[in-house]
Amino acid sequence: MMPSATLLGQALISGVLAGGMYGLLALGLSLSWGLLRLVNLSHFALAFLAAYLTYEMGTTYHIDPWWSVLLIVPAMFAIGLVQHWIFDRFKVNELASLLITFSFAVMLEVGIQLYWTADYRRFETHYATWSIKAGPFYIPVLELILCLVAGVLAWGTWLWLRKTYVGKALRASAEDADIAAAYGVDHKKLAYLLSGLGAAYAGVAGTFIALIATLAPAQIWAWLGVVFAVVIIGRLGNPLGALFAGMLIGASESIAMAILSPAWAPVVSFSVLIAILLWDPEWS
C-alpha cells in the first residue's frame, strides 16, 4: 500500500530534524579529522559525558539545561585542550589517534557506568513533546531548536574557516603544515584551539542528546557508524557539508522507514555513502 502524502511529509520532517543531530555530532569529528588529521572516536563519549552531566545537573540540582550548557561547553573545551596536549606530547598520528581515542572512549564509558550505572536514564522535561502544527504536519520543537543550533554552529564555523586569518591558517596547515609554518602559521597553537572547539561542539550535542534521547553508557557507540558516514559524505573538515549530509542521511532513513520497513533504516545510510563515493559528485 502506498503511503499517504501526509505520512511522507511527516517522515521527511522527522528525518531532516533527526539529521540535525547527526550533523551536530559530525561537526567536531569532521573538523579534527579534516584539519588536524586526528580521528577522534572519543568525540561520542564526550558528547555522552556532556549528556550525563546535563542529566545530573537537571535532576539532582534542578539546573535548567539551557543554563547548564554554559558550564558544560567550557568544561568540554578544556577537556579538548588536555586531549590535544596528549596527542601533541606523544606525537600521535592519524592511525594511532584511532586507537588512543577509542581507548579514551572505553575509559569514559566505564567511568560513566560506574557513576550513573548501566541503567537507562531519561531526562524528563515538560517541553520534550511540544510540537508546532503546520497544516497536516507536526514539527517537534526540541528537534527544531537542535537543527537551528546545529545550523548556526555549522554556518558560523564555515565562515570562520573561510573569512578569518585563523580559519585560513588552519586550512593552510591542513593542506601543508610546513609551507604554512614558513608563512608564520603556528599550527600547534591553532590545533589546540580547534581541538577545544571540537570538544565544545560535543558538549552542545550532549545537551541535546540528554533532552531528546535515552541515556545508557553503551549508547555511546550507537551513533558511531552513521556519524562516520555523515562526516565522509559531507567531506572532511567541511562544517556545512557535515550538516547537510546529516540531514540527507536522516531524511533517507526516515523515508525508508515510512515506505519500506524501519529495519531498513541502517542499511540506507551506508547505501547512500557507497552511492556517493561511487558517484563522486563535485561537492563530496
Binding site: S14, A18, Y120
Partner: protein, 408 residues
C-alpha cells in the same frame, strides 16, 4: 525400689522434655547451625557491562540476596555457597569462554545460567559438553532450550508465542468496545520479534485484524517516521515488542504527532520510567508477579522484596521494586537449592533427575519441569499502570486487590 526408679525416670523424662521444649523455642539459633566446611562453588556470568548491563545488574542484586539467604539457612548440603560471578560483557562468545573457564580451570561444583537469550545459548553449549545442570531465567524463546539438563526458572511455558498472545486477546475481549484492529510494532531483538510474530498470528486467528506489522532495529534512534505510520494506521490496539526505554520513546514520538493510542501493550519495558511517564497511564505490559497480593503471601516473598528494595535503592537503580526480572534470578537459586538438597548430591545428573521428578516451590509458586523443553505451565500475566504503579490486572483471579483492567 521400683517406685523410686519410676520417679527418677519421670524426673529424667520431664527434664528432657523441658530441655527439648527450650531447644525448640530457641530453634533458629541452635537447630539452624550455620553451614560449614568447604564452600560449594557455583559459577556463572552476567552481562555486567555492555548493552544488557542495565538489566543484568538487577540479576546480580537478586543473586547476592539469594546466596546470603541460602547461607543463612543450611547452604547446600550443610556447606556454605560461594558464587563466582564473572562479566560476560553482553557478548555470547565471552560468555562461552568464561563458562569453559569456570568449569575447567576454576573447577566450580555447579553453574548458574547467564542473563538474556544469546549468552544463555552460548553457555548452554558449554554446559551440555561438560554435563552440567544449567538453570536460566531469561530465555524468551523456550524452543531453543533443547539441552536435557537445562531448566527454566521463569514460567514462560513451552510456547509463549502462542499462549501469551491469547492471554492478551482474552483480556482485550473484555473491553467495551473490544478492539478489532491491532498494530504490531517490534524490536528485532530475537525474543521480542518471536513474540510479535506469535501475536500477529494469534490475533488474526481470533479475528483481530493487523493492518500494520513493523520491525525496527534494536537500538533504533529516531521513532518519528514509525510514529507517523502508527498514527496513520490508527488501530484500536497497539502491541509493542519493546525493550527498555523504547516504549517511552515511541509514546513520546506519538504524542509529538498529537496521537495517543487507545490501548497499548509493551513487552519488556523499563518498568519505572514507563509507569512514571505522562504517556504511561493505563498501558499494559507482561509480568509474572508484582509486589502485591496474592504474590506477597508466597513463602519468603515479603522478605526478598524488602531486601531487594533496600539493595536496589543503595545501588541507585531508578526502579527499586522487585518484578519479573529480579524474581527470575530468585527463582533460579530457589530451584538450584531445592535440586541440590533434594537430590542430596552435587552430582549434576542426580540434581537434574530430581528436578524432573519433583515439584519445586519458587517465588512463582509450585513449578514443574515435566513439559516440552523442560517447561511447566505458562504463567504470564498482564499488568497495567494505574496511578503511576504497576498492578496485575489479568487474569482476574490474580489481579491486585480492588484493581481491574481499564480500557483506554
Amino acid at each position: 525400689m521400683s517406685k523410686g526408679m519410676g520417679a527418677s525416670r519421670r524426673r529424667t523424662f520431664l527434664g528432657g522434655a523441658l530441655a527439648a521444649t527450650a531447644g525448640l523455642v530457641a530453634a533458629p539459633a541452635i537447630l539452624r547451625a550455620a553451614p560449614s566446611g568447604k564452600p560449594v562453588r557455583v559459577g556463572g556470568t552476567l552481562s555486567l557491562t555492555g548493552f544488557l548491563a542495565q538489566t543484568a545488574v538487577i540479576h546480580k542484586i537478586a543473586s547476592e540476596i539469594m546466596v546470603e539467604e541460602i547461607n543463612s539457612r543450611d547452604g547446600f548440603l550443610g556447606r556454605p555457597v560461594e558464587f563466582i560471578l564473572l562479566d560476560d560483557q553482553s557478548k555470547p562468545d565471552v560468555a562461552r569462554s568464561l563458562y569453559e573457564k569456570l568449569i575447567t580451570v576454576d573447577k566450580v561444583d555447579l553453574i548458574q545460567g547467564p542473563y538474556a537469550t544469546a549468552p544463555i545459548l552460548a553457555a548452554m553449549g558449554v554446559a551440555q559438553r561438560y554435563g552440567k545442570v544449567m538453570i536460566q531465567s531469561s530465555m524468551g524463546i523456550p524452543k531453543l532450550q533443547t539441552y536435557d539438563m537445562a531448566f527454566p526458572a521463569t514460567p514462560f511455558g513451552p510456547e509463549p508465542d502462542k499462549s501469551y498472545p491469547n492471554v492478551i486477546l482474552d483480556a482485550m475481549a473484555t473491553l467495551s468496545p473490544a478492539p478489532k484492529t491491532m498494530v504490531v510494532l517490534t524490536s528485532k531483538f530475537p525474543s521480542a520479534q518471536f513474540m510479535a510474530q506469535g501475536m500477529r498470528v494469534e490475533a488474526e486467528k481470533r479475528g483481530v485484524k493487523v493492518p500494520l506489522y513493523l520491525e525496527y532495529e534494536a537500538g533504533n534512534r529516531d521513532f518519528g517516521a514509525i510514529a507517523a505510520r502508527v498514527k496513520e494506521a490508527n488501530a484500536d490496539f497497539l502491541w509493542v515488542g519493546s525493550l527498555g526505554l523504547e516504549s517511552n520513546q515511541i509514546l513520546e514520538a506519538l504524542r509529538k504527532l498529537d496521537y495517543k493510542p487507545k490501548n497499548s501493550f509493551h513487552l519488556y519495558p523499563a518498568p519505572g520510567p514507563l509507569a512514571l511517564s505522562p504517556d504511561g497511564n493505563l498501558v499494559w505490559s507482561s509480568t509474572f508477579l508484582e509486589p502485591d497480593e496474592p504474590f506477597m503471601s508466597r513463602p519468603g516473598m515479603k522478605k526478598i522484596a524488602e531486601l531487594y528494595k533496600e539493595r536496589a535503592t543503595k545501588a541507585n537503580l531508578p526502579y527499586p521494586i522487585i518484578d519479573a526480572q529480579a524474581a527470575g534470578m530468585v527463582s533460579e537459586w530457589q530451584i538450584l537449592e531445592q535440586g541440590v538438597n533434594g537430590a542430596k548430591s552435587l552430582e549434576d545428573k542426580q540434581i537434574a533427575a530430581w528436578l524432573k521428578k519433583n515439584v519445586v516451590t519458587t517465588i512463582y509458586g509450585p513449578t514443574k519441569f515435566d513439559g516440552l523443553y523442560n517447561h511447566g505451565a505458562p504463567a504470564q500475566l498482564i499488568r497495567q499502570v494505574q496511578n503511576k504503579e504497576w498492578k496485575v490486572v489479568w487474569p482476574k483471579d490474580l489481579a491486585a486487590p480492588g484493581v481491574k483492567l481499564i480500557g483506554g
